[in-house]
């Protein structure tokens, strides 16, 4: 897959995983596992990128006698998901056009 496209899709996947409630690293990986296999290093890079873009914020909370980082989605992050959905429907209509061309051949 095109690297730029894949990067965008992964970013939105992670944002979708924290959309309903703040989540932590391991839970994000587990939640996304049925759809996409993410390594720890990849997730770290994505989280850093999204934090830098203001799409999420990080809070630290105590859990079982240790500290755990929770990732919270921001308005920018929610907008990013909405943009993705809008772009995707556009892309899907292009896909249908391309797939139709295949059938015609």
């Amino acid at each position: 897959m095109d690297i730029q496209l894949k990067r965008g899709v992964l970013d939105v996947c992670v944002l979708a995983a924290i959309k309903d409630e703040p989540s932590y690293g391991y839970k994000i990986i587990k939640d996304l596992k049925p759809y996409i296999e993410l390594s720890e290093s990849t997730l770290y890079t994505i989280l850093k990128r999204l934090e830098g873009a203001g799409a999420l914020t990080v809070t630290t909370a105590e859990h079982g006698g240790r500290l755990r980082k929770y990732y919270n989605i921001t308005d920018t992050g929610i907008r990013r998901i909405e943009d993705f959905k809008a772009e995707w429907s556009e892309l899907m209509s292009i896909y249908r056009f391309v797939a139709k061309e295949d059938k015609d051949e």
């Binding site: 690293g25 391991y26 839970k27 720890e40 290093s41 770290y44």
Partner: protein, 201 residues
Amino acid sequence: MNKTEFLDALRKALSGLPNDEVDQRLEFYSEMIDDRIEDGLSECEAVSDIGSIDEIVDQITADIPLGRLVKERIKTKKKLSGWNLTLIILGFPVWLPILAAAFAVMLSLYVCIWAIDISLWAVFVSLAGTSLGSVLLSVVCFVQGNIPTALAMSGTALVCVGLAVFSFFGCKAATKGVIALTKKMALVIKRLFVRKGDNNG
């Protein structure tokens, strides 16, 4: 390998990276291991689930721009003792030409690889050009009534088209190979800066 051993080994392997970057990464992996243990895995299972240190280091190295790695190396160099600094300054006439020569050799090798690739493409272009020219020439000869030459030219055109198609795939593969090699070389150069940190750590 238990969690402490894993984190120690990772810290050592990453010692060429900026300190705050290493701390943040280790904190992240530590949390990941703890969460796996909480999920029912044993400490060793949790660590092996994270992946091998080499893989992690490669991925992190690929993520961080070369400029930052070099900057971090220069910063570490500042901590040199006076004696080492004197040696470096006195050795300047020796190490600078050697370094420059090594760099020039590397660069010329790299340029050579691209030159081979470009010459392959040149072969492709000339074959394609020849086949086009032969087609035109055979048409002209045919019109002029020079049938034997027209036949010979169309034969040449066919052979050249065939070779051009063949060479196109070869050229494409060669270019892809050179690009892959460039990426690999970039990673090796970056790794040089990260792994060298082992001596300081």
